[in-house]
Symmetry: C2
Subunit: 152 residues, 2 copies
DNA sequence: CTAAAAACGTTTGACGACAAACAAAAGCCG
DNA sequence: CGGCTTTTGTTTGTCGTCAAACGTTTTTAG
């Protein structure tokens, strides 16, 4: 019995019925593929999200960005330091509120993001291409429902 | 325009079409709720996964466990140190292969796991309860497809 | 049978994430 | 106004994770 484990594989037991477990496995695969696809750009999923959000909401504050990608604001500090260090993003002190920075993409940031988007598009196709268009829509809808569940 | 951002919310831009982004958000919510529900037991999703797998495959090795939950074997060392320190798991040197340990649950581990399972069941219901049974089956199926995608 | 290669568990180092504490600025309200 | 509270960005500490290097043991090849 025990010696056949290698052949038969490990039993999932209680985990087998849990969607949460499958969700985690899916995300591990997703991250793996994303990382490999975007390695030349030194872009992780989180960094990519930040860049896209800054592009789509030029001038937004760090808090607004943090909330939108569900990241702690303290985490964002190092992330922006990195992107700013690579010349992709700029922190511009807000003229109206001296506490906040306005985040904007540099020209170089925009240029890199354009290329990165193509890679991400391919990446999504690799991971979800097997699913039909309606399946993908369903999946997206359900994931949204999960992340907007009400606490009690 | 910019001053209405707080009201209208942040635009997702390119992120809006990405399933990967939704997947990440869903997992943030999932982890949040799981953590809150299992806090009294000091059990995280990963630890829970390890306990369940050891229960369902008593005597398996660290490598087998690491692969099954897709965790680096080095990560597992500290995790098992923790569980062993709390008296939930035991590392037993394999009699047939002196390189490996056989992982087994202690009586206390089994007892705690029984209680934890109930909490996790409730947690899953909270997160996925809104979805119909067939929706949940679909979701699970699709997530499996994603995590078993072939690297080209 | 023996030398080379691979597997296993561990240690160490790097990195990304959260949480708590802080100073500065803005908002609130008597 | 003028003081208290809240918000914002940052620093520091902790934790979970991966990757690389290492010693021990097993497996494989010649």
């Amino acid at each position: 019995m025990s010696q056949t484990r290698a052949k038969r594989g490990v039993e999932l037991g209680f985990l087998d019925g849990l969607i949460g477990f499958r969700l985690r496995l899916a995300q591990v695969s997703l991250f793996e593929d994303f990382e490999r696809a975007l390695r030349p750009f030194d872009i992780t999923p989180t960094r990519f999200g930040a860049l896209v959000l800054i592009e789509a909401n030029s001038g937004l504050s760090q808090m607004q960005l943090a909330k939108a990608i569900r990241l702690d604001r303290s985490t964002l500090v190092a992330l922006l330091d990195h992107l700013e260090g690579k010349g992709l993003v700029k922190r511009r002190p807000s003229p109206t509120d001296k506490r906040t920075n306005e985040l904007v993409l540099t020209d170089e940031g925009r240029k890199l993001l354009t290329k990165a988007k193509r890679r991400v598009q391919e990446h999504e196709k690799r991971l979800f291409g097997k699913l039909s268009a309606s399946d993908r829509a369903e999946l997206k809808r359900m994931l949204e429902a999960v992340s907007t569940y009400k606490r009690l």
